[in-house]
């Protein structure tokens, strides 16, 4: 054991991982002051009484990109949907524990889930534009909030932020379904930005896209984190390493006796640490591809 400490084992490596990028990321992250935006304590989610995710506690920092990674069924999507109370829409889901957002409990009795979702936007796995024109897709959010002034400018700003303006400026009246998959996903991001949220939650936003569109979305995240806090669920470890400042690894806790699989948080740290020097054997196995 003492031998191990004096001469640490070579850091685990992900095949194809850009070492330099991780080093840069370590510098970036290390130098920034952390402001806690979400403080999650002992969060448990049950579906019809069966736990899907158990006892998760972590902090999410302002203007960081935070990634949740882990194998299928580890509850990472369930977890991200707690932050904007999308789980409220599933009648069988119960959320226990606490999520403080700016110090306010999101699940407190005086908090309205509709208000929560106005400030915490979400982008889904599959692009889900509304069956309306490009313009009306973006304008939907502002319209339901009653922001009727300067709608055109608002739409343009959102599309510019999502790096989509130049591609669609001449076809705003066309159906959103005429866009490619990658453009549709950026449209969905723009749609979120139009209501000026604090936080962007992204549930595997690039998993249905081709590599070029994926790169476009990742570049966008780098731009957006100046103004927004981003939380992303991803299956793709390289993606987490490329975009995330902090990474949380979730895994599945299998209870053989009761035949239950429950998601648990294994490790949460700066992204470079998770990928090169994880503290937990399970994390190491996962990021090096031995598991999952």
């Amino acid at each position: 054991m003492s031998e191990m400490e004096s001469a640490p084992a070579a850091p685990a490596k992900i095949p194809g991982m850009d070492e330099k990028l991780l080093e840069e990321r370590a510098k970036e992250t290390g130098s920034t002051r952390r402001d806690v935006l979400f403080d999650v304590t002992d969060l448990t989610v049950n579906y019809s009484g069966v736990p899907a995710l158990k006892n998760v506690s972590l902090e999410i920092y302002k203007n960081y990109v935070t990634a949740f990674i882990g194998p299928s069924g580890c509850g990472k999507s369930t977890f991200i949907r707690c932050f904007n109370r999308m789980n409220d829409l599933i009648p069988t889901a119960e959320v226990a524990g606490r999520i403080l957002y700016h110090g306010i409990d999101l699940y407190g009795s005086e908090v309205d889930s509709v208000e929560v979702r106005k400030r915490i936007g979400m982008v889904f796995q599959k692009p889900n534009p509304f069956p309306k024109s490009i313009y009306d897709n973006i304008a939907f959010g502002p319209r339901i909030l009653g922001w009727k002034k300067n709608l055109d400018e608002r739409v343009e700003r959102a599309l510019r932020q999502a790096a989509l303006w130049d591609e669609v400026r001449n076809r705003l009246k066309e159906s959103a379904y005429s866009l490619s998959g990658g453009q549709q996903q950026r449209l969905c991001i723009a749609r979120c930005l139009a209501v000026e949220p604090d936080v962007l939650l992204m549930d595997e936003p690039a998993s249905a896209l081709d590599p070029i569109s994926t790169t476009a979305i990742e570049d966008l995240m780098h731009e957006l984190k100046k103004d927004y806090t981003i939380v992303i669920v991803t299956h793709n470890m390289q993606q987490a390493a490329r975009v995330a400042d902090m990474t949380a690894f979730f895994s599945v806790d299998v209870d053989e006796e009761q035949d239950r699989r429950t998601g648990i948080l294994v490790e949460y740290d700066q992204t470079p640490t998770i990928f090169t020097n994880p503290g937990d054997k399970r994390t190491e196995d996962y990021v090096t591809g031995r598991f999952g």
């Binding site: 904007n84 999308m86 979702r117 534009p129 509304f130 939907f140 339901i144 979120c192």
Partner: protein, 291 residues
């Protein structure tokens, strides 16, 4: 399995015979349907074509076949259809929205409602007629008026409209709702601005087809007292007649000329029906969406 050339054998003889036999069976089924329909149509047109004229479209009924028309009946049918549309669409769409978007399926009353609607769609129309007579005409004292006829047809096709609307609403993908909720929309906003607009083509198509069913109904109207000698234009609370009732009465008369007149009436009814169905198909093709 070796992939050497020539190894991919022929199907066995029995297989081929069965395949061909089934194909022939299908052709026969299609042919019978088509031929019967064609013969019926040809017969109606051959008999009725000489009687389709302005007299038929405008004049009231008469005991003299050469003067008899179906003017009040046609107008009665059209008025009733308009009334029906105004009544059945809000009720049907409202019920469908409640069941699809708001109702908690675990509640016994919602399940009861659902089972009832499914069963109501299968109740024979004469039963609705009896209900109309007992409840609307006598019970409420409405009398044998146009409104009673429209109300009973509303009840008759309401289940159809509900079922069609529910299907249209269910076809709106959940991802649309989720996307809208994630932007901070309330349930009302999601339903009003996303679900309903996306479902409207399906709802419209279903409603028109339901209307097309109602337009040919005779039995319930006979029971709530559609007359066949109405000389004046129908009013909401006046006595009335409708095209199928008129046709029924003409066919029942002994003189041959009235049968020809009935055939002409059928042609008018068919023309209205086909127009409505064509409109429904056009709507569906025009606004159909692939998600």
């Amino acid at each position: 399995m070796s992939a050497a050339p020539g190894v991919v054998g022929r199907r066995s003889g029995g297989d081929r015979v069965r395949g061909t036999a089934f194909y022939v069976l299908l052709l026969v089924a299609v042919t019978i349907g088509f031929v019967l329909l064609f013969v019926l149509l040809a017969d109606v047109i051959r008999k009725g074509i000489g009687y389709v004229d302005l007299t038929l479209l405008n004049e009231p009924n008469s005991s003299d076949p050469s003067k008899a028309g179906a003017g009040p009946a046609i107008r009665g049918t059209i008025y009733m259809m308009v009334l029906l549309l105004l009544l059945v669409v809000p009720l049907g769409v409202g019920t469908a929205l409640y069941l699809e978007e708001y109702a908690d399926r675990d509640r016994w009353y919602n399940r009861l409602l659902e089972i009832n609607i499914q069963n109501l769609a299968a109740v024979p129309s004469i039963v609705y007629g009896i209900l109309g007579l007992a409840f609307l005409v006598r019970g409420l004292g409405l009398g044998r008026v146009l409104l009673a006829g429209a109300l009973i047809l509303t009840l008759l096709v309401l289940p159809t409209v509900i079922v069609a609307s529910r299907e249209a609403i269910r076809a709106v993908p959940d991802s649309i709702r989720q996307g809208a909720y994630a932007l901070g929309a309330t349930q009302w906003q999601v339903v009003r601005r996303q679900v309903l607009p996306a479902a409207i083509p399906g709802i419209a198509t279903g409603s028109i087809l339901a209307l097309a069913r109602a337009i040919g109904e005779t039995a319930p109207l006979l029971l709530v007292g559609a007359l066949t000698f109405v000389a004046i234009n129908p009013t909401l609370l006046g006595s009335f007649t409708a095209l199928p009732v008129q046709i029924y009465q003409w066919i029942a008369r002994p003189q041959d000329e009235f049968r020809l007149l009935a055939a002409a009436g059928i042609m008018v009814l068919l023309a209205i029906l086909l127009t409505m169905n064509a409109f429904a198909i056009w709507l569906r093709n025009r606004y159909q969406r692939r998600w």
